[in-house]
Symmetry: C2
Subunit: 318 residues, 2 copies
């Protein structure tokens, strides 16, 4: 079929995408419908293969083939495979540059290896970029021209949709909102910086703050959420402090990028009721009036599926 | 002539642009060659017309016509007029929303008024965006895909070229790098925020810091530059402190936007030798390694002409 006609009928041809979300603990796979619905899922643990990239990639290729055939589909029904990894990726070359939490992954030409094995187009990108694509195309930021997708967790990352496109930066390394300094003389961060946003709102820092506030040594954000629900004043104050840092960190990007929307995802964003009102209040109060008044804050729509759904957008836009 | 052929021969047709740079003190005009060279200049003071926008726009239209005829040109030789103003502009509509330093300019449809008077296409934009376009097309950032153009002065602003285009944001208000917080609990800023970048590196703050360091009450950056040149240790320390704040403020955008280049302009950037080495050192030390190692810092090429030359790019890209 001629290329242009093929493009035109892509949706009607119902070409599926296999999405792969590589994590330090598990590797999740999903077969994604062109409209962003996951119709089949599978997963396998990362750890048993941590000593051998080759074995891991072999098993991954096998699992990709398995999920396709499990639905009675053939290669011709598959538009491509999208893989999200937690680290630096040379997107154009499909090379994984470095994964901080999965040892031994340095300069791995994952796209080339998988394409050779699968005989399907493969695209590899950073996982936060895939989450951002999912939220922008099918989720909380559907149809928004300029948005920031913030992911809160152990690491704090973000993806930027600017002028209706994923902005990658000069080495596909844009979006490190977690490493914008919030205080020049703040605590040292692993990245080499000081007072980074992540040092205030990353999980490790929130756990430490919770310990300090509650004078204990085993606090988590889940426990603080439960305590806040029970009306504990210290826990409420904890969330207010955490949300104030979040708001302060976002003021900078609101003024710099003038987005319409900030989508907030990641585990801690489940505590929406203790975070979002304060975040909104801080942005409203501290941002410039035009930028602050027009930006909306929404919770991410997709949870664990976000990376897999984003793979569909990645392949579709390629 | 058919449109496509017209586009192709645009350069050979040598269509000039009239660039207008509206400032609180003077309004500068220039006739700009398609290759970004200013071939004629004029200016008139802003203040005498501060009570009447109508009179000011009338004189401006007259001066635009005068600069065209002064070179023996006719309207058909002019591709358009580009006007840069120091404030908020609705670019699509050509409406000046608000100019903090020129009283009474609120929601002025400057494009429509000038087009009616001149019978030429007119484009109106924020002045820092025009400076950014000039540096990107003909200046220090010529041909760079992702760059930040920082302007240091009483106000601290920036323009963002992302993926080879001027990024405007959702209300043409992107680029307020001067209002990214550098310290959550820093001094209150006029914008409503706290600890904004501008509160550390804007001229008023630098003058105050200079007074404090020198224990005087009339210091300026020019005086501090002369003192540093004479080997005054306090002045050298002053520049080091100023440059450290500048570097710290840029670390955030380097990590967030992963640019190849930061162009620094504005009066204080003349003191390059006391600023740039420290700025580079701070970025190298505090940014993430990939982003920090690839970003270059350059001084802006154009001084007072930047806005006028940028008008050429604005009209040409329209």
């Amino acid at each position: 079929m001629p290329y242009l006609i093929q493009q035109r009928f892509k949706v009607f041809m119902k070409k599926y995408v296999v999405g792969v979300d590589v994590g330090g603990t598990n590797i999740k796979l999903g077969l994604v419908h062109p409209r962003g619905v996951v119709i089949a899922r599978s997963h396998f643990p990362t750890k048993p293969f941590s000593s051998s990239k080759k074995k891991l990639i072999g098993v991954l290729a096998h699992e990709i083939e398995k999920i396709i055939t499990s639905q009675g589909l053939k290669d011709k029904d598959i538009a491509g495979v999208g893989v999200g990894v937690p680290g630096l990726v040379d997107f154009d070359k499909g090379v994984v540059r470095f994964l901080p939490n999965i040892p031994g992954w340095k300069n791995v030409p994952l796209k080339a290896i998988l394409e050779k094995k699968l005989k399907l187009p493969v695209y590899v990108d950073n996982d936060v970029k895939l989450i951002t694509l999912a939220e922008w195309k099918f989720g909380a930021g559907c149809g928004v021209k300029n948005l920031i997708c913030l992911t809160l967790g152990t690491g704090v990352g973000s993806g930027l949709i600017l002028d209706n496109r994923l902005y990658r930066g000069s080495a596909n390394a844009a979006g490190e909102l977690g490493h914008m300094p919030l205080n020049e003389k703040g605590p040292a961060c692993n990245c080499g910086g000081f007072g980074c946003f992540e040092k205030y709102v990353g999980n490790q820092s929130l756990f430490a703050l919770a310990d300090q506030v509650m004078k204990k040594s085993d606090m988590t954000t889940q426990k603080m959420f439960a305590l806040a629900n029970a009306g504990n004043l210290k826990a409420l104050q904890f969330w207010r402090e955490a949300a104030t840092h979040m708001g302060n960190g976002l003021v900078g990007v609101v003024n710099l990028l003038n987005p319409q929307l900030i989508v907030i995802g990641g585990g801690v964003s489940n505590n929406e009721k203790y975070l979002f009102p304060t975040i909104k209040e801080v942005i409203k109060k501290r941002s410039m009036s035009l930028q602050g008044s027009m930006v909306k804050i929404k919770r991410a729509k997709f949870g664990d599926d976000a990376g897999i759904i984003g793979a569909q957008v990645l392949v579709d836009n390629a």
